[in-house]
Amino acid sequence: MSGIAEEIKASVMGAEPVEVSYPEKGYHCALETSPDKLPDIVRLFDEKRFYLECLLCTDYTDYLELVYLFNTHLSPCRVKVTLKVDPQQPVAPSMSSIYASAYWYEREIHEFYGVLFTGHPNMTYLFLHNDIHDYPLRKGKVPVPPEDKERLDSFKPGEQEDTFFINLGPQHPSTHGVLRVVLKMDGEYIEQAEPVLGYLHRMHEKMAENRSYQQFLPNTGRMDYLGPMSFNLGYVLAVERLCAISVPDRAIFVRIIATELNRICSHLLWVGAYLADLGALTPFLFVFDDREQIQDVLEGITGSRLTYCYFRFGGLYNDVDDQFIAGTKAFVKRMWGRFSLYEKLVTGNVIFVNRTKGIGTITGEQARKYGVAGPVLRSAGIACDLRKVESYSAYNEMEFNIPVGEHGDALDTYKIRIAEMENSLRIIEQALAKLPGGPFMAEKVPKKLKPPRGDIYQVVETPRGELGIYIVSDESDRPLRMKWRVPSFSNLMIFPELARGMLLADAVAILGSLDLVIPEIDR
C-alpha cells in the first residue's frame, strides 16, 4: 500500500501523495494534481494495472474538484487523485484514450457540471435532453451556454448504403426497462451499437443534496429495485463510517442474511429474465416460484416486497422474529433442492449452451479498462468479490468461495451467478448459526446526523457488482455531494465493444448476460 505512494513520487515530478487512514476514509492514498501532470499519473496507474473505479466531480463553490479513484482488483489499493478546476471556465484533459471507462464518466460530468474535457471524442450528453437550462449539480445557478446545448442530442444516425438502424428500445422486450440501444446493422450483423441513456433519470444524486441523511434512505432501494438490500447496506455503512457509529452484532448478522437473501432473489430473476431473452419462458415462472418464498420471508421483517428500506444508521428498522428464522431455514432447504431442476432445464440444455458459449467474451484487460464489475468481471477470471477483497459487515467471518469463469463469455456469467446463489445459501446458513442475541439497534444514534467535515468512499458488492458511495460532508445535516458509482453503468459501457460484429440475437444474449438494471444506470 505504501508502495504506490513511493512510486508516484518517484515517477511523476512534483507529485505529493499522502497516505490516509483507510478505515476512516475508504481509500489508502490521496494525491492532488494539476492538469499537466494528470495524464502522466493516469498513465502510471494504467501501467501498474489499476482500473479507474470512479470519476466524479464535486462543486465546492470556489472551485470544482474532479476525483479520480483508482484501484486494483485483487489487493485493494485505492488512490484518490484530485484535480481542481476553475468554476468559471471548467476545462480538464480527457482520460478516455487511456481508460475506456472515463468515456462515459466524463460525459456525465460534462452535462451535470459543464466541465469540458479536451480531447474527448464525443462530448455529448448522456442522460439529459436539450430542454435543460442550468447545470443540475452546480451549487449556484449556472446556465447552460447555447453552444453547449447543441451538443445535447447524443446520437444522430446517418444511414449508409447497405446498413440500417434499429432501435432496441426504449420499449423493447429484451431491454428490461427503458434502455435504448441504437444498432447500426448490416443485415443481421451489428456494425455499431450505441446505448442511449436517461429515460429513467431521476437525479438521485441531486435529491441526496437536498434532504437529510435519514430522508435519503428510501431512495437507495429505488435505484436498484432488484437488489435494494445491497444499496441500503452500502448507504448505511458509508454514513455509519462517516459518523463513527458502531452497530450491534445482531444487526450485522441480520443485515448479512437479508442482503444474501436479496442477492439470491436478484440472481434468480436474472436467470428467468435471461432465459426469457433467449426464448424460453418457463424458467421465468419457475424462478418466480422461488422468489416468492424469499419475498414472503423478507416481507415479514421489512413490510415490503420489492423496494426494501430495512437498514437504519446503527442497526435495523426492527428485530427479526422466530418466524423469519424458520422461514429462512425453510427457504434455504428448498433452494438447495431446486438447483438440480435448473441444471436439467437450463444449464445442461444443449440449445442454451450453444446460444451462450463464446458469446460476449470479455478478457481480463478489457474488464480492467472498462471497470466492469461483479459476475461479469469474475467471468473474465478475476476473483474480485468485494465481500472478500474489501470485506465489510462480518463477511470476513463467513466461509464462501468466489466462483470465477474461464472464458469470460455469457455462459460463464450464468454459471457464476448460479454458483453465487449456492455460496449465498452457505453464507445464510452460517449467519443463521452464528446469529447472536442482543439489541438490534445502536443506542447512541443522534436524531439529526451531522457528520464531521470530510469525504468517504464505501464499497459493497451488490448482485451486479461494485457499488461505490462517495459522500462529502460539510458538517451540515445534508451531504455536500453524494456520488453513486453503480455497477450496471460500467457494465453497460463495454456493450458496444462486445456487440460489434455479432448477430442481433447475440446482442440480446450479451445485453442480458450483463444483468442491467436500468434505474440504477440512470439513477
Binding site: 434532504r211 435519514q214 430522508q215 435519503f216 434512505l217 428510501p218 431512495n219 429505488r222 418457463t282 419457475f286 416460484d289 416468492e292 414472503d296 416481507e299 415479514g300 421483517i301 421489512t302 413490510g303 415490503s304 423496494t307 428500506c309 437504519r312 428498522y317 426492527n318 431442476l341 436439467k344 432445464l345 445442461g348 440444455n349 444443449v350 440449445i351 436524531k447
Partner: protein, 147 residues
C-alpha cells in the same frame, strides 16, 4: 461428435422431463380474489393514526409536526390539532396525507415521539383520481372505528 450429439439429445430429453413433471404437479399460484393470502403483520400500507388506549374517543397524535418535517417527499400536507379543556396536549383534528407521493419509508412512524402512527394493512387501494388518495387520517380513524 457422436458423444456430443448423444449428450445434447439427452439434455433435451431431461428438459422435457422437467416440464412434463411440472405439468402434472399441482399449481403453486393462489387464485386471487377467490383465495386471499394472509397479510404479513408488518405490511406497509398507508399510515394510520392510533387510538389513545386511555381515551378511546381520542387519537394519540398531538399535532407536533415532527413527521411533517421529517417526510422526505413532503407527503404529509397538514397536521392540525386543538387543545380541549382540561388536557395538557393538543389532539389532532386533521391529518392530511398525500398517498400518491408517499413511498412508505416509515420515517414518520419512527420519528413520532408519541407512537401515534402505524402502517395500515390496506393493500388494495384503488381510485379514479389523485384526490382519492389524499387521506385525512383522523377521518379514516373515525370511520374505521365506527365499522
Amino acid at each position: 461428435m457422436i458423444y456430443g450429439f448423444i449428450k445434447g439429445t439427452a439434455s433435451l430429453i431431461a428438459g422435457l422431463g422437467v416440464t412434463i413433471r411440472a405439468f402434472f404437479q399441482p399449481v403453486v399460484t393462489s387464485q386471487y380474489p377467490r383465495e386471499l393470502l394472509t397479510i404479513s403483520p408488518r405490511f406497509r400500507g398507508h399510515t394510520r393514526l392510533l387510538v389513545d388506549p386511555e381515551n378511546p374517543e381520542k387519537n394519540k397524535c398531538t399535532a407536533c409536526g415532527i413527521c411533517v418535517k421529517s417526510c422526505p417527499s413532503g407527503s404529509i400536507k397538514k397536521v392540525e390539532g386543538e387543545k380541549k379543556e382540561g388536557e395538557k396536549k393538543k389532539t389532532a383534528t386533521e391529518y392530511l396525507l398525500d398517498f400518491t407521493t408517499c413511498s412508505q419509508c416509515g420515517i414518520c412512524v419512527e420519528v413520532c415521539p408519541f407512537d401515534a402512527l402505524d402502517f395500515s394493512h390496506a393493500y388494495n387501494s384503488a381510485g379514479y383520481k389523485r384526490e382519492d388518495f389524499h387521506y385525512d387520517l383522523v377521518k379514516e380513524l373515525m370511520r374505521n372505528r365506527v365499522q
